[in-house]
């Protein structure tokens, strides 16, 4: 009796212990029968396309959404082991370069995909980013995410005499010109940018170089160093509203005047412009602006840039590569689907055969009827491909940190750069850092 009871209790304990694991494996085991395709992503963006795909092909697709902060850490072990892995998964620009080289994505340059043939159908920099170090295509993207400067028409008219995007863009076509505009803005009590971080996208100037070159050397171009001075100038001349990106005041400044305290005085100022990419319009401005709808426009800054973007590819150990690529194909090459998708969401596509036919009849009420589609497409073709490295995300942060030290007057330019070199070396012992 005692013995039986013991065995019973022990088995309860053990069952309890493995309950978590077993129920998990059950669902994934069943999943193999019920679900034809499994997709992982970090936003719910793919929900609608998946529904279309299911209806078109009569299959069942399971979408797993993992928040971006956990996405790489959750996906990596799954891809390494192949257990419970997706057939298709997306990648964000922040870790894209690392992933295309890690070999998790199927080589799309090979048969039967032959993705190389598609090269001239895409915005060059977008297609280029999906290639690994050997030049093989690993991931494709349906969108392009170039940026511009969103500004308020009413302020432009008052201060600059025009609200026409082309003319305003012309007035900001170099950093010196930007400062001229900033000066005019200040005279009338407006702030050019929310804060000096806004111009970081123009650091490349007209000399775009990768952070780390082929010889594994860290490159801090003269243009990038000049950016330090530009930032300091913005701060010292009080051209900004001192509202750091993503801070509550940064959002507030989009719609109404914000208070700035400097030099013992408090003033109220309106922010003239925000430096944001394509998605900034839909998921930042439109969601935060209520009163000034229609008073906005977008134009180009001193140099073209892009910010963000999502790529997708087929997992190389997937059992269902054919269907997986079918989905990738629909997302990136299907004329009919992409046309309706683009019209619905306003997403700027990187697939040129579709954009050519739809770009002319776009207009956005938020931007006072401007055709932002055309504008962004023009911008995207001006972006130099091949300058993104796997180091970018972290080196940008470290450099931004150094710039901040200089702007706030904590360090001299030389000291700040020296510290940047030290920190870069510490983070990436393999790269060669100039000894200064």
């Amino acid at each position: 009796m005692k013995r039986k009871l013991s065995i019973f209790l022990v088995s309860i304990l053990l069952v309890g212990l493995f309950a978590g694991c077993s129920s998990d494996s059950k669902t994934s085991g069943n999943g193999k029968k019920d679900v034809d395709l499994r997709i992982w992503s970090f936003t719910d963006e793919l929900k609608k396309p998946i529904k279309t795909f299911e209806e078109k092909n009569g299959v069942k697709v399971e979408l797993t959404i993992v928040p971006i902060a956990d996405y790489p850490t959750k996906l990596k072990p799954v891809l390494e082991s192949g257990v419970g892995a997706p057939d298709v998964f997306t990648g964000e620009i922040a870790f894209l370069k690392q992933w295309v080289d890690a070999g998790y994505w199927e080589n799309l340059s090979e048969k039967p995909y032959n993705a190389d043939k598609l090269s001239d159908k895409y915005v060059p920099y977008v297609f280029d980013l999906g290639k690994d170090k050997n030049g093989d295509v690993r991931a494709l993207s349906w969108q392009t995410t170039p940026g511009g400067i969103y500004y308020k028409r009413s302020i432009a008219k008052e201060v600059l005499g025009t609200d026409d995007p082309t003319q305003v863009g012309e007035m900001m076509s170099s950093m010196d010109k930007v400062f001229e505009v900033a000066d005019k803005m200040k005279e009338k009590g407006y702030s050019m940018f929310p804060d000096e971080g806004a111009i970081r996208w123009f650091t490349q100037g007209d000399n775009p170089q990768p952070w780390v070159n082929d010889k594994n050397e860290l490159q801090l171009t003269d243009e990038k160093m000049e950016y330090m001075d530009y930032s300091k100038k913005l701060r010292d001349n009080q051209y900004t509203a001192l509202a750091p990106e993503w801070s509550p005041s940064w959002f507030e400044g989009m719609d109404k005047p914000i208070k700035v305290k400097e030099g013992g005085k408090e003033k109220e100022t309106q922010v003239f412009s925000y430096v944001l990419p394509t998605w900034g319009l839909h998921s930042v401005l439109k969601t935060n602006v209520k009163e000034s709808v229609g008073d906005w426009a977008v134009t180009s800054g001193p140099s073209p840039y892009f910010w963000g973007g999502t790529w997708l590819g087929v997992y190389n150990k997937s059992d269902n590569k054919e269907l997986a690529y079918k989905f990738v194909k629909m997302m990136t090459q299907d004329d009919e689907f992409l046309t309706s998708w683009s019209k619905e969401t306003g997403d700027v596509l990187s697939y040129l055969p579709v954009t050519e036919t739809i770009k002319d009849d776009f207009s956005d009420k938020f931007l006072g009827g401007q055709n932002n589609y055309q504008f962004f497409l023009d911008q995207s073709t001006k972006i130099t491909p091949g300058i993104v490295t796997k180091y970018d995300q972290q080196l940008d942060t470290l450099y931004g940190n150094a710039v901040q030290q200089y702007v706030t007057g904590k360090k001299s330019k030389k000291e700040a750069i020296k510290e940047f070199y030290q920190k870069a070396q510490n983070a990436y012992p393999d790269i060669k850092v100039p000894k200064k």
């Binding site: 304990l13 914000i258 305290k261 030099g263 940190n401 360090k411």
Partner: protein, 299 residues
């Protein structure tokens, strides 16, 4: 044959299985990685003691070590001071404060808020241009220009210390009170009759008898403090700004592993942290109990 004890192993098996898989295995694996140049994907190559050599000469790790101590130290002194003062007031037989349960709950509340909410809250309170703290100080006329609290190394470290104090003094207070209630009332009554004042009662009766409790708080707080990570990570840019002053040891470890993909080196940092924690825990233990053994108690 006596096999009475055999079932015992089955009973402890679940714990051991979990312990092996989720504790021993990662600890051992980390030890292995600390001798490699593992980058998070692909194969790990053995590099001998290179990571540990680097650790000993790494100025950023040393900086992180002192930052962690500064932030934890200030927090600990304030937190214990506050907890003890409150314990003294609430345990005073002459005052007999009412509503201790209520205050206990109030003091403990900050500890229940998730760190990310705390960070968000203080991020807004301490904001440079629009923070409530600066607005209040300016209204009172104490400062003419807003202070950028999280942009000055000293004030940023102090901010973290104070937030930690605010979060943890209630916890310490409860533990101290539990200890105090375990002390026999006889001592206090005797002290009262002998005419001891409050401070004498506190320093000669409460503190000595609380020694094991204080040791417990100190060690757990030290271990927690040396692992300080979440607040510095969330309050500024996550790499220790301003000027590296919020770069704590675990934050450094995290950045090396998950931002820079130097998993091998990060594993070495983890073991460095382990050794440091071990040494300091041993010190506290010795300091607290070592003396007692030398001087046998007089009855």
């Amino acid at each position: 044959m006596k096999n009475l004890n055999r079932y015992g192993y089955f009973f402890i098996a679940p714990f051991w299985l979990v312990f092996l898989v989720f504790s021993i295995y990662p600890v051992a694996l980390t030890f292995y990685y600390s001798f490699t140049n593992y980058t998070g994907s692909g194969e790990a190559q053995l590099v001998g003691l290179a990571n540990y050599k680097r650790l000993l000469t790494d100025t950023y790790f040393v900086e992180a070590f002192f930052n962690t101590w500064k932030i934890w130290g200030v927090n600990f002194v304030l937190q214990m001071g506050l907890a003890l003062i409150l314990a003294m007031i609430f345990s005073d037989m002459r005052v007999k404060l009412k509503g201790i349960a209520f205050f206990r709950a109030i003091f403990y509340l900050p500890n229940l808020i998730t760190i990310s909410s705390v960070a968000l809250l203080f991020g807004i309170l301490l904001d440079w241009q629009h923070g409530s703290l600066n607005m209040m100080l300016m209204k009172l006329g104490l400062i003419s220009d807003p202070i950028n609290w999280l942009n000055e190394p000293t004030s940023a470290q102090l901010s973290i210390s104070l937030i930690l104090t605010w979060m943890w003094f209630g916890h310490s207070f409860i533990v101290v009170m539990a200890g105090v209630s375990g002390i026999s009332k006889d001592y206090y009554e005797a002290a009262l009759i002998d005419g001891a004042n409050r401070w004498q009662t506190f320093s000669k009766i409460t503190i000595p008898l609380l020694k094991p409790i204080l040791l417990y708080i100190m060690i757990t707080s030290l271990i927690g403090g040396l692992q300080l990570f979440d607040l510095p990570m969330l309050l500024t840019d996550g790499i220790g700004s301003p000027d590296g002053s919020l770069n704590t040891m675990v934050l450094y470890l995290y950045n090396q592993a998950f931002k820079y993909n130097n998993y091998g080196y990060a594993a070495a940092v983890a073991y460095g942290l382990f050794v440091i924690t071990l040494i300091f825990s041993a010190f506290i233990f010795k300091g607290m109990y070592g003396k007692e053994r030398k001087q046998p108690r007089q009855v």
